[in-house]
Symmetry: C2
Subunit: 328 residues, 2 copies
């Protein structure tokens, strides 16, 4: 192997490796996604296609396929479930952007900015309903149950988050409850539907999805302050009054004076005080401490699949740690 | 029977009679509704309860129970499906009110006015997901299929309606497509899930639900101009640019001058020109002509269940005509 080839290999992340290995299956999943977002009402595929074509890493459907592969199955039903998972994810993105009043998503204007809030709400509903139609086609009530439960839990997480906006008294436990619901629940369903569909024990996959989702969201919340995503502004959560782990860590450790400063800043967020606010969080090592929590979830997640072998299993096991590498 | 008692009996509408006959079952359905809208996130039952407690006639779950009764079954699964149907209906009301920017619903401030658009979107999602959880519990993939299909069709109807706002070139066929999707589809599902659950032929119930839903929406669209619902303003559809059957009928028959007047009014709707607009529609007998179309659907609907006998069947057969009595 040449140095260049080695370097390229070294730079391939676990999720990219999984994507390479499952390339042909993902082509089929993308075909299902494209086919099932069609409608005789032109605005539906236009709006859905606008968001879906903008990319995203398709991490959730890849997880479904990868876990199916570990269970020894590559059926059309797994592909339908993978597409259903992506539809549910896309529907929640559309509704979240309406709820948050977002103007950017995946490096382009958010769908609600281009097509309006009304269309985003309705097309989100459409994709959600189509997800259930796809699940029905697998003819498996247990897989349906997993995704139906995840869907109601996600919205509970979103409402809980909304009802705690600007509340600096929020505890770690409440924060974990929010992210477990709004993020980890769909990771859980993405990972466990495959074994469930096949009537296998899903315990290891449920645990893996949970830990991966928790690590994923904590890292996301840290990066919101330290290295925002393409097209996003630094401190979006701060501007929206979302209290995430770094703020909770800082509040746990801050002097009374600094606590008050944090509370005051949260009450009056502006682009002018964001840098001072981040400096306050850094003073209490809030980002590193948060990443440590994500690291614990990452280790636990890797452990839950450690009894599997082979290329895909290795990459699934390496995936939680690689998510941490986005910030450390 | 005393005169007073006879009069009271005469005034009982078919849907009220069905409600009386199925009173005990509906208590169970209401208990399921109340139980399954609960969540550890307080805002969810608060918002859902606000709308659900405001009433509504529960016509859709009553249809599910009534059709189940015609098929000879009163199982807990039918009650779960009836609750699921009401959850889907409530979810669409919450989202519709956000999409339409409504300020009134069921004679009180709309939920989006009290709790905000964001909460309405998310709690709608929650109820929708809970509906699917309830359906999963019936363990019947065919009933699930009926309601999943209805759910995606409803949103297609809503988006189609939205994309044709203010468009006076809309044809009867397009209008029928919209109301078939946004309204009749859920009536169809409400009526057909019971026989589907029991593995019986659902053809008659599908046809009945379709005709009832079409008549229901046409009457609703006429009443929007002639006798608006409690808490609604006369001509809400006009103000929102929704082109319904009375406007289409008038446009089909109007002189070129009046066509232009209609188009101009639709482009600049205001409380000042609503009475002139209604007078224009009346000039072309638009309300009576629309009711005649509803009458055709009503007759067809009644016919589709004519081979059933007994108290509930008689009331189901009389129901489409009684809907017309709201306007004639």
């Amino acid at each position: 192997m040449t140095n260049a080839a080695m370097q390229e290999k070294a730079e391939t992340s676990p999720i990219e490796s999984i994507g390479d290995t499952l390339h042909d299956q993902m082509i089929d999943v993308n075909a299902v996604i494209l086919d099932r977002m069609q409608s005789h009402v032109p605005m539906i595929p236009q709006l859905a296609g606008y968001l879906i074509a903008a990319g995203g890493k398709r991490i959730r459907p890849l997880l479904t396929l990868a876990c199916a592969s570990l269970c020894g199955n590559e059926s059309d039903n797994q592909k339908k479930l993978a597409a259903a998972v992506e539809f549910i994810h896309t529907a929640t993105l559309l509704h979240d952007d309406v709820v948050d009043g977002s103007d950017q998503r995946r490096g382009q204007a958010a769908a609600n900015e281009v097509f309006g809030n009304q269309a985003s709400v309705l097309v989100g509903d459409f994709l959600f309903a189509r997800a259930f139609e796809l699940m029905v086609e697998t003819n498996n009530i247990n897989a349906l149950n997993s995704l139906a439960k995840a869907s109601s839990i996600i919205t509970e997480g979103e409402v809980l988050q909304m009802s705690l906006i600007g509340n600096t008294d929020i505890t770690r436990e409440q924060y974990f409850k929010i992210i477990e619901a709004k993020t980890a629940a769909l990771f859980v369903a993405s990972c466990e539907v495959a074994p469930i569909l096949m009537g296998q024990d899903a315990t290891a996959f449920t645990a893996y999805g949970h830990c991966l989702g928790m690590a994923f969201q904590i890292v996301d919340d840290v990066m919101d302050y330290t290295s925002p995503k393409m097209g996003k502004d630094k401190g979006d959560d701060f501007m929206e009054g979302k209290i995430t782990l770094p703020v909770i860590v800082a509040m746990e450790n801050a002097s009374d004076d600094d606590k008050e400063k944090i509370q005051t800043a949260i009450k009056n967020p502006s682009a002018d005080n964001i840098d001072d606010f981040i400096a306050l969080l850094e003073k209490y090592d809030a980002f590193n401490q948060s990443v440590k929590v994500a690291q614990d979830y990452s280790n636990q997640g890797a452990k839950s699949l450690s009894h599997f072998t082979g290329n895909i299993a290795q990459n699934l096991i390496a995936l939680p740690q690689s998510i941490l590498h986005r910030v450390i």
